[in-house]
Each structure stands twice: as C-alpha cells, then as structure tokens.
C-alpha cells in the first residue's frame, strides 16, 4: 500500500498535465473569459446606474433650487404688490380726505357768506324798520341821513355777542 511506484506517478503526471491542457482549452479559458466579461458588464451597468443616479440627483437639486427661486420671486412680487396696493390705498384715502376737507371748507365759507349776506340784509331791514318806527313816533323831524347815523351808533353800542 505504501510502496513507491514511479510508473504510476509518471502516469499521474501525464494524465494531470494532459487534463490541465485540455480543460484549459475547453473549460478554464472560455469560462474565465465569460466570467470576466460578465463581471465587466455588471460593473459597467453599476457604473452607468451610478452615473444616472448622480445626474438625476443633480437635476433634482437644480429643480429644487429653481423652485426655491420661483417661490422667493413670487413672495417678493406679492410683497411688492401688497406695498403698492397699500400705498395707493393711502393715496386714495388721502385724496378723498383732502377732497372732503375742501368741500367742507367750501361749504363752510359759502355758509359764512350766506350768513353774512343775511345778516347784512337783516341789519338794513332792522334799520329801516327802526327808522320807520321812529318816524311814526317823533314824526318826520329828522332827516334820513341823521337817523341812519344815530341807528348805526346804536348798533355799535350793542353788546358784541349780538353782532352776528
């Protein structure tokens, strides 16, 4: 069982090397090349996928950025518009106030004038009435100009509060 048999060893070597040669030709070389090719294909696919992913990510980032700018822009525009509206509102309000004030003033002055006119006419009416009354009382002794001056004096002497 343990005796050395060089012939068998030689046969083993011959068989092994012939087997190595044939298997190298029919199996190892094609299989290993196919494996390498497949690994390369897989690696390429992974690389491609990685690249696509990166691209998509950068695109997404760009998109996000764009969205953000748009948002900011719209916010800004909204704010501006609001300010503008506020301003125009203020202006309109101001103008309306001014207009109203003006109208009120005008009306006031008109009223004043009317009042003045009325007072004036009332005053002369009163004077005329007084003269007529006096004429009736004392007769027609006094001439008209003198009577007027006397009544004017009288009116001047009247308390201030009754003037208007």
């Amino acid at each position: 069982m343990l005796d050395l048999d060089p012939g068998l060893m030689i046969w083993a070597w011959v068989t092994f090397f012939v087997l190595l040669f044939i298997l190298y030709k029919i199996a190892w070389k094609p299989i290993l090349s196919v494996i390498d090719k497949r690994e390369k294909t897989i690696q390429d696919s992974i690389d491609r996928a990685e690249k696509a992913k990166e691209e998509a990510e950068s695109l997404l980032e760009k998109h996000d950025q764009l969205m953000q700018t748009a948002e900011e822009e719209s916010q800004k525009m909204l704010k501006e518009n609001r300010e503008l509206a506020e301003k125009s509102r203020q202006e309109i309000l101001e103008q309306a106030k001014q207009n109203a004030d003006k109208t009120v003033d005008k009306a006031k002055s008109e009223i004043e004038k009317e009042k003045e006119d009325a007072l004036y006419s009332l005053r002369s009416e009163v004077a005329d009435l007084a003269i007529a009354a006096t004429k009736k009382i004392i007769g027609e002794s006094l001439d008209e100009s003198k009577q007027k001056s006397i009544i004017d004096e009288f009116i001047q002497k009247m308390p201030k509060s009754t003037q208007h």
Partner: protein, 283 residues
C-alpha cells in the same frame, strides 16, 4: 450488542482465520492491482516490462489506478465540454454549479493566497487540482470504481506538481539564488543562515509530504472503515450483524462524500498556499 457479544464468543474458534482473510480482502481492495473487477469479471489490464532509467525500475503498466485517473480525466473533460458547449453570459443548470465552484476557487482560494494578478493566472491550474482531486476522491464511492487518491503514488505526484510549480515559478520570479535566499527569513544572524536554510528546506519538504499524506490517509481510511464495517458480517458469520454494519457502512459512505469534498478543498487550498509562499516569500 449483547447478542453480538454472544455471537463473537460462539464464533471465537474460527475467528482467527477469518480475520486474516478479511484483512487481506480490505488491503487488496485499497491497493493497486493489474485488473479491473467489472461485475465480478476480472478484466486484465495490459502490463509492460519495467524499464530501467538511472538505476530505477519504472513499471509503466496500465494498472487499475491508472485506468481510474484516466476515467476521472475523461469524465471531467466530458462534463465541462458538454456543460459549456453554449457560451452564454449567464450559465444555467449544471454549468452554473461548475461556474460557482470555479468562481469560489478563483475568489476565495486563488486570489487571497496569490494576489490579484497571480491568482487569475494560476486559477486554471488550481481549478484542475480541485476538480481532479474531487473526482478521484468521490470515484471510489461508486461501485466498479476505486479511489486513485487512495494510492500514495497519485497523491505524491500531485504534491510534487505543487512543489514543482512553486519552485519553478519562484525561480522564474526571483532568480535561482533569490528564490532560495528567500527561504531563510530575514533578520537571522549570519552564522545561523546555513542551519536555517537546511531547516527551512526540510520544512518545505515536510509541508508537501504532509500534503500528500493527508489526502492519501483520508481517502484510504474511509474505505478501510467501510469495509471493516461490512467485514463485521463475515467475521461474526451472522446476518444479525448486517443492520448494524450496513447502517454504519452507509453512514461512513455519506461521511466519505463530505470528506471527499473537504479533502479536495484542503488539498487545493494548501497547494495554493504553498505556491503563494514560493511566489511571494516573506508574507
């Protein structure tokens, strides 16, 4: 067991002669011979006159184990040839299993031990080692066939291929002196270098001797154990022993399948390791 013990005492008278016969039978089964037992017919294999080269008798007769390694080689060529007829990028069926094994050998055995570049270069050799040893290991479990790796000359031839590959490629890589200088670890005092060289050289031989013995012993032992269990029936001369011995023989047979794979892996792994040590010393 009590029955078996009783039987053994009953048969003790005739046991001596039987045991000798059984032993002879087992040894005959595991040794090389000039015939091939095919279904009880003893096929005589061609024998040649031994030739003498350098005072050494070389008998190139086609013995049983020579036929077995040829069958193993033929089987491998056919298996790979048929499986990989169609060269598709993704293999199917048996080809996928073979490819998985090849990938395992390349990625788990060759490249870690030999480095990326050498690993790829030596993968064909290492794959051949693995599949050849595996086929030889498992062959003996099939009726009609014997285990060629249960012959020390075959395992010796394989271990010598490992040794030769390591030395030849080591010398090519590092030069004759560079290769042998690398055997001695660096940092050894000058006076110790000759001693260390001898020790390392012996270590190198011992490693490869262990490699061939490990495979041989494992393969032979399994077959001896199977036959020893079966021989229990003959020794006891009782069919009562049959369930016991056949049960254990079948168990050992399954164990042998496992051992066949493990030993093929171990042999391949260590061969790669030894080649790697020669190619990349000082690791």
């Amino acid at each position: 067991m009590a029955i078996l013990a009783a039987l053994s005492t009953y048969n003790s008278g005739t046991q001596e002669g039987q045991e000798e016969n059984v032993g002879e039978f087992i040894v005959h089964h595991v040794t090389n011979s000039n015939e091939w037992n095919v279904f009880g017919y003893h096929l005589q294999l061609p024998q040649f006159e031994p030739i003498t080269v350098l005072g050494m008798q070389i008998d190139l007769s086609i013995t049983n184990h020579v036929v077995m390694i040829w069958i193993a080689a033929l089987f491998l060529i056919l298996a790979f040839g048929i499986s990989f007829r169609k060269r598709s990028l993704v293999p199917k069926g048996f080809a996928a299993i073979l490819e998985m094994l090849i990938l395992f050998i390349r990625d788990e055995i060759a490249i870690p031990n030999l480095g990326e570049e050498d690993g790829r270069k030596f993968t064909p050799l290492i794959c051949t080692f693995f599949f050849f040893v595996l086929t030889c290991n498992l062959m003996g479990l099939i009726p009609l066939f014997t285990t060629p790796t249960g012959n020390i000359n075959i395992t010796a031839a394989m271990a010598l291929i490992t040794l030769g590959t390591g030395q030849v490629f080591g010398i090519i890589r590092h030069g004759f002196f560079g290769h042998f200088k690398a055997l001695v670890p660096s940092g050894v005092p000058l006076a110790l270098i000759p001693l260390m060289f001898v020790i390392e050289l012996m270590g190198l031989m011992a490693k490869h001797f262990a490699l061939l013995m490990r495979l041989f012993a494992n393969m032979v032992a399994g077959h001896i154990v199977i036959f020893a269990f079966l021989a229990v029936i003959i020794i006891f001369k009782s069919f009562l022993a049959a369930p016991f011995s056949i049960g254990f023989a079948i168990f050992v047979n399954f164990l042998e399948i496992l051992i066949g794979f493990i030993q093929a892996y171990v042999f391949t792994m260590l061969s790669t390791l030894f080649i790697g040590m020669s190619l990349h010393p000082e690791h």
